[in-house]
């Protein structure tokens, strides 16, 4: 085995890039959750849809696609999946019959609670090295950092992904 092939840390040039670390951290969280959700038969994006629906009376597919920064055409199959398992329901909006009013079902709420518990567990694991105080600062900081992003998304509805 060639010497120097043992990985004992990132090259300084990479480790110093905060953006790189943060990007990979987000990716790691997502991958970990993806694995945890597999036994539930859903993917992270299904969970995110359920999370949205769990705190909204109803949402249109377009709205959900906007929030998740997903192409609206992907939303079709996503809601199809959930509806086929009885986790949400589509009903035409009587005030604008082009839209659906997508609503979560009781089964959907139950599955969302289980998925949320898994997401919390992943978070607790990944952020385990941090003290409560640090974690709280990080979470609030990220939330504040992202405010302009969400605001900008609102102004330009059709952005590249």
């Amino acid at each position: 085995m060639a010497e120097g092939s043992m990985r004992d840390g990132l090259p300084e040039g990479l480790a110093a890039l905060a953006g790189f670390q943060l990007s990979k951290c987000g990716w790691w969280l997502e991958q970990r959750l993806e694995e945890e959700l597999e036994p539930l038969g859903i993917r992270v994006r299904h969970f995110l849809v359920l999370a949205m629906l769990s705190t909204s009376e109803t949402l249109s597919q377009q709205e959900m696609a906007d929030y998740l920064l997903l192409d609206p055409t992907l939303m079709v199959g996503l809601v199809d999946d959930l509806e086929a398992r009885g986790l949400c329901e589509r009903a035409r909006d009587p005030r604008d019959r082009r839209r659906y009013r997508v609503r979560i079902t009781e089964d959907g709420r139950a599955l969302h609670r289980r998925a949320r518990a898994l997401a919390d567990a992943v978070g607790a694991d990944v952020f385990g090295p941090l003290s409560d105080g640090e974690l709280s600062i990080v979470v609030r900081a990220i939330g504040r950092v992202m405010e302009p992003f969400w605001a900008e998304q609102a102004v330009r509805p059709r952005r590249k992904r």
Copy 2:
């Protein structure tokens, strides 16, 4: 226009998911940098390769693929791109002639400096809402959180991406 279509914030169920916010934050940083680097004719991954090479004498393509969590086959084209522009050089490792010793050139260093300045500018912009103290805490916290991740990557060389 239907009422309620103006986006004035994320649904509570999404906003409360720290992992979602952090994931999107990483994605945002990457996209922003991708746009900034376009005039330089490179993508984020080229920049990351240059960043690695800038603090290492030489690296093999395999090593770089491991660090970046990219499939080794993708590294071929990446190094091809950089070499074609004279930003790095390939030389066979005399101690193991299967490997390349990839080394950054002076032109490569110059381009890396420019790209690094753009990356710093994106970071300053995105993290602008944070105080210096908060930013410092966040950066160090993420670094600590990622330590086990990089360690795990070292133990299991061939992971799913």
